[in-house]
Symmetry: C2
Subunit: 213 residues, 2 copies
């Protein structure tokens, strides 16, 4: 393949929306999650995030990036107020509904109602899960960092509850999210199903990794 | 699907490696990149990271998480010393080689040589790209945060150069990384090719999104 090279000046001189689409594509495939929150009056909020990432297993931590200038602002206020939120894997059947949560609905409107997804409340946890999701996480906010360089917020949450299909949890703890139907995202708006190439054995210096059946 | 529920105590009582596999699976699909660095003597280092994520398009920023206790430590020292690094998308043809960079090679050994990948030097940029990669990014370190909660390092880099296949850059700036052959990761060791479901139109409150051609 013939590769094009873009330097710093090329990037900075791109038209704003073109650059957003271009740069958003470059990190690689991204996770697709619905972020569920509520305020103290149980007014719910739901928005799509492609920025959730693994941060550590002990304690079980996940990061999520929130841009200050987006519709995610209501969710951020809810998280700061009640200290909890959910992340729910997006699957193909709920894809257009999940994408639609990005629309700029008024503050007092719940995206659950507007897009046709169902809030699921558990025990005394003050954030709604998404009933239709096969993989659901309940998180408690542990740290918030504002990144000086562009004002984005990094929320670090500890996983307090996990819902996963029983058959997707393998003997070694691996959760088969492909089997669970989770999708991947690239760029701002491209969605992908996956097909497993395989799992590779733990890498050691003296031999090449092998494919695990 | 029947869902299993795991609470905080269930998670914390999991055997350590089981928990690592379990929790690593939960964020969703992850990007697969090779992180290329060098020290001042051009001793190169290469390691697989599944933690690169988009942070902003103006300026063009990417984050990457580095755990303090891993083989990535040499790479972290190189980045601090020279202030630059590359991220190179992993494709199917180089998958076992890329995975093998996770092995604990001695400090004075280059993973490029050990796994059979080729360093590519550009101009006066002090970090090697991976010749075999179809999507390559050169980055300049802008911020480093140590996350108090578990000692991991968040590196924020500004993209200074992008190499992409010409045919993968679409009219609106979207880069088709599926066409470029980039793979996705789940958990610690599972690799996936992707199949596009589609791209969805920009979400607006008054109508549902449509699939773009």
């Amino acid at each position: 393949m013939s590769l094009s090279v873009f330097g710093h000046d090329d990037i900075m001189s791109m038209e704003k929306r073109y650059r957003a689409a271009f740069i958003n594509s470059l990190s690689g495939f991204k996770s697709a999650n619905l972020l569920g929150t509520s305020d103290a009056e149980r007014q719910t909020n739901l928005c799509m995030v492609s920025s959730a990432f693994h941060l550590g297993a002990n304690p079980a931590l996940m990061g999520v990036i929130i841009r200050p200038d987006t519709v995610v602002r209501d969710s951020l206020e809810n998280i700061r107020q009640l200290g909890v939120y959910t992340l729910n894997h997006v699957s193909e059947a709920m894809l257009t509904a999940a994408h639609q949560t990005s629309a700029r609905y008024p503050h007092d409107v719940s995206e659950f109602d507007q897009v046709g997804l169902t809030p699921l409340w558990r025990d005394r946890f003050n954030a709604p899960y998404v009933q239709e999701a096969a993989v659901r996480l309940g998180l408690v906010l542990r740290e918030e960092h504002t990144l000086a360089i562009n004002g984005t917020h990094l929320l670090i949450g500890e996983i307090s509850e996990v819902h996963v299909p029983e058959s997707c949890v393998k003997d070694d703890g691996y959760v088969d999210i492909e089997q669970a139907g989770s999708v991947a995202v690239s760029g701002l708006d491209s969605y992908h199903r996956t097909a497993r190439i395989g799992r590779l054995s733990y890498a050691k210096p003296d031999c090449f990794p092998e494919w695990l059946d």
